[in-house]
Symmetry: C2
Subunit: 558 residues, 2 copies
């Protein structure tokens, strides 16, 4: 008789914030039945992934075991949890479970990819149970910064797992269910929690988190004190914030216009699923043009400085006929995610040049986080009293700090980063295998591996420029004419005011004239020799070595 | 008789933080005698200036008027004030004035470029006066985060200017002269200050700034509480911080080893100029290897996550024989400059993976800023009681906020950004001309203009990839063989698993077969047609349009 084991394998989101994808397995080693929690994306940047559209976990390991997957569970509809559903589902083809709001967002993603929508099953919250192979899964409402965020209770023959998802403790979240200490505590009383997988995002924030409801007064005061048009940005999915902002606008007799597709989409799904009611009627951008500026508020996308979002568009001038001007106010009801500072500052300065007053979150006056802070995490540890804790949703430093806290409280805790398969069957989590993981890039409409070299070549061209050499050889392997050089991303003129392309052509042609037949006959040798000359001469002329592409054309006797 | 006027022209540093370069002029319009204050650099980033080594102000306007320059004054030795001296001096060839420490750093920069060192005159602080054409200039010691930082008193026939340079109010700066309210106040009493040009960096910080001396106790406690090796990073030029850190290390019996050329250079110039005394003896990296970890502290460069600096090197493994490990501590006695977050977080996480405890500035416990905060700025306004104020050393939002503050205090204030020439002769500052300004890039060893298209092409290749097409035509303008396509930074395989290069070659060759003589004969038309096919087919195959370089080789009858 084979021994069953309970395993956990993060493929994304553990050792980074983004592209969440976690796997649980139960069964005999190598034949475990599997469930997947979340299929998220992360966003590219120029430093590491120029030109890429989206980044997601490389799920090759799962794909190879697709026949063992008993379900995909999506905790909530943030892009880092659901963004890859349409792109990765075809590799897994398993049934998807989510609560109504999340499911509806998921269906939009499947629809965009032309996939069937009925693979998603809408699930009610606990006590409703999804049976998925050896797993019994319940969705537990938690407060976060998007409607219907959920933790998961995952029951297995080896014990109960509490997968926190993204959460905060908010007793008055404006939209959705308040955090309920008793309900969470009851989960551990009903059946002891063997393992807590826990959000680690805000583990370094030492003060207790604040409720979404603490913002209303300050936002009302700010918006009513302003004379011109007020434009506010926040995450489009933060429907509670949109509601608070809209109500503050109404309180000072402002009509509300929403700019940005993702925000409009979130609002309409919120209304159609009933999580949002009583939201003020919106005016269209055309209607907004006829409303006095002092009676208008725009709610816009682009709180992270995204180049194509409404905020950035407005910072560059007229957008959908609307334009910021002196006396207007632009409010970031948001925090900058590390790495997005440059884009956000660029927008702030552009508005400053227009005479617009830019207001940031003012140290939390106009924004609260959607994640549990350190004291809140400790509180949840105490509510659930798990035997083990594995931190997730964090960079390595967050995970490590979370382990320290848990260990200090007597919980067996371990850092598990992407690819570390943990055996949770016993008393303590144990690493049993390292799975090769990585990232997939959506580039245009193609999925490529981050290690395929495509992006590496782009980065090299961006850093070093690109020199292309064309050489034609005749049937006798003799050069026909001179070498031809085209430069891209390189200075035209080097030291001594010499034209770089011409200098290279001269030196390459001189080389070709004296090169032996052995080299001229051999594509690889010739390529190598020409490449070396280009790099060496460029180093002398301009002080850098470009990327080089050599094209040797050999004319055939016809 | 022509009327003399007093003008101010920022060429860099006004509307940005970095590459400071300010011009003052006095004389008849168009024939003013000029002085230059600071020749700084700013640092490139992958988003906007990939592959570039340094960025500085485009000083073409000054270069064209080099015969009218009566001196270059360097306020202090931070790179954003002195970094371009060696690179731009040859365009100006005017005498350079600085205090001793700054002058010695400046000489190292000239020396690196093989320039004569005696163009720099070392100047004593006020009351010493430099006569430079119609200008009388005095260096006023101010506290900052580098030795011998100075404001400038610039006397002109039209009145007195106080150019603040970078400064903070610090009555106990550890190294160098304390801030002296009386001495500053005396400047305005001696002769009324017509214009205050004022540092704006920290205008959004609403609490009064803190003294460098407030860090000693906390740093001593932190360092003595740690068991393993302690590694601390800060700006190499912050000699006071290095002293505080070194003394804290000595207090817990730690030997000190410095890693990083720029930091060693700052320490040695500080000692040779007498601004730093009693600094503990340093041990070499080789010696450090024999010292128990608990008795060792490394002071290292790279507080901003710079890839090649010591911090980043240590985060990647062994560096000069030294290696971080579990139980060690890494301290950022510094703040992240906006835009550098990704690099710093990468290092923090790499250390976390090694089991190293990473400590950041802990909300100012281990770091203070070198710039005056808002209440300090207001204090200086009151000390000097200027008629006018022009903010500098700030992004647009900083300058605008600073103007608001000054205006509220009854001072005539205006935002002047790079290229805005202001006439300061009258009662209020007036814009008289917009000068074309911009940025110069040091790229390898070549200076290129930011608008030359070189960097634009690099960014495009990074975002879109690069496709190179080679076509050979014979003497009769008939295609010889097929089109050849090389791809760089593009996926090899597109939709339907078709090889992209082959698909392109097939389609291009098919086009060539049917193309009319009119196109085949015309390089521009052919180039355009082939380029369009590549972009269109790529869009279909991979969902993006690459940059395209077409090489048409025409064989000549010999």
């Amino acid at each position: 008789m084979s021994v069953n084991r309970l395993i956990y394998l993060p493929l994304g989101g553990a050792g980074e914030i983004g592209m969440n994808c976690y796997v649980y397995g139960y069964g005999p080693e190598g034949r475990e039945r599997l469930i997947v929690v979340d299929l998220g994306v992360t966003f590219p940047d120029m430093d590491g992934s120029p030109g890429v559209d989206l980044i997601m976990a490389d799920i090759s390991w799962l794909e190879a075991r697709a026949d063992r997957i008993d379900g995909i569970f999506i905790t909530h509809a943030h892009e880092d949890h659901i963004g890859a559903l349409g792109l990765l589902w075809p590799k897994l083809k398993s049934r998807v479970y989510a609560r109504r709001f999340t499911a509806n967002i998921g269906k939009l993603k499947l629809d965009e990819m032309g996939l069937p929508l009925d693979v998603i099953t809408t699930v009610d919250p606990r006590p409703a149970v999804v049976q998925a192979g050896p797993f019994e899964v319940q969705f537990v409402p938690v407060s976060h910064s998007i409607p219907e965020a959920s933790a998961l209770v995952i029951d297995t023959p080896a014990g109960r797992i509490f997968h926190s998802g993204d959460f905060k403790i908010d007793h008055n979240p404006i939209v959705g269910e308040p955090w309920d200490d008793e309900a969470i505590k009851a989960i551990g009383e009903e059946r002891p929690v063997k393992v807590l997988m826990c959000d680690s995002t805000n583990v370094f924030s030492t003060h207790p988190g604040r409720s979404e409801s603490t913002l209303g007064t300050a936002l009302r005061e700010l918006i009513s004190s302003r004379g011109g048009m007020v434009v506010a940005t926040t995450f489009g999915s933060n429907v509670a914030r949109l509601k608070t902002l809209a109500e503050a606008a109404r309180a000072s007799d402002r009509s509300i216009c929403v700019l940005g597709r993702s925000m409009r989409r979130m609002l309409s799904v919120s209304e159609e699923t009933g999580v949002l009611t009583g939201f003020p009627r919106l005016v269209s951008p055309e209607e907004a043009l006829d409303i006095p500026r002092g009676n208008l508020m725009l709610l816009v996308t682009g709180s992270q400085g995204e180049r194509r979002a409404a905020s950035a568009q407005l910072s560059r001038g007229k957008y959908l006929g609307l334009q910021m001007k002196e006396g207007d106010t632009f409010l970031f009801s948001s925090k900058v995610i590390p790495g997005n500072e440059r884009g956000v500052l660029k927008i702030m300065n552009a508005f400053s040049e227009m005479g617009v007053d830019v207001v940031d979150d003012c140290n939390g006056l106009y924004h609260v986080s959607g994640h549990a802070n350190r004291p809140d995490l400790e509180h949840v540890h105490r509510l659930l009293l798990p035997d083990m804790l594995i931190p997730m949703h964090g960079e390595h430093r967050h995970l490590r700090e979370h382990v320290k806290i848990a260990t200090a409280a007597g919980i067996a805790a371990e850092v598990a980063t992407n690819g570390m398969m943990m055996d949770l069957t016993g008393e303590v989590p144990t690493v049993v295998e390292y799975i090769e993981t990585g990232r997939l890039y959506l580039d245009g409409n193609v999925l490529i591996g981050s290690m395929d070299g495509v992006v590496r070549d782009r980065i090299r061209m961006a850093l070093n420029g690109h020199a292309m050499v064309t050489v034609i050889l005749d049937e006798a392997d003799e050069p026909l004419g001179e070498a031809w050089v085209e430069l891209s991303g390189l200075p035209a003129v080097g030291r001594g005011e010499r034209n770089l392309a011409e200098t290279l052509e001269t030196d390459l042609s001189a080389y070709l004239e004296t090169a032996g037949a052995k080299v001229l006959r051999d594509d690889a040798k010739l390529d190598e020799a020409l490449r070396r000359i280009v790099r060496q001469v460029s180093m002398e002329e301009i002080g850098k070595k470009p990327e080089v592409t050599v094209v040797v054309s050999r004319l055939q006797a016809e």
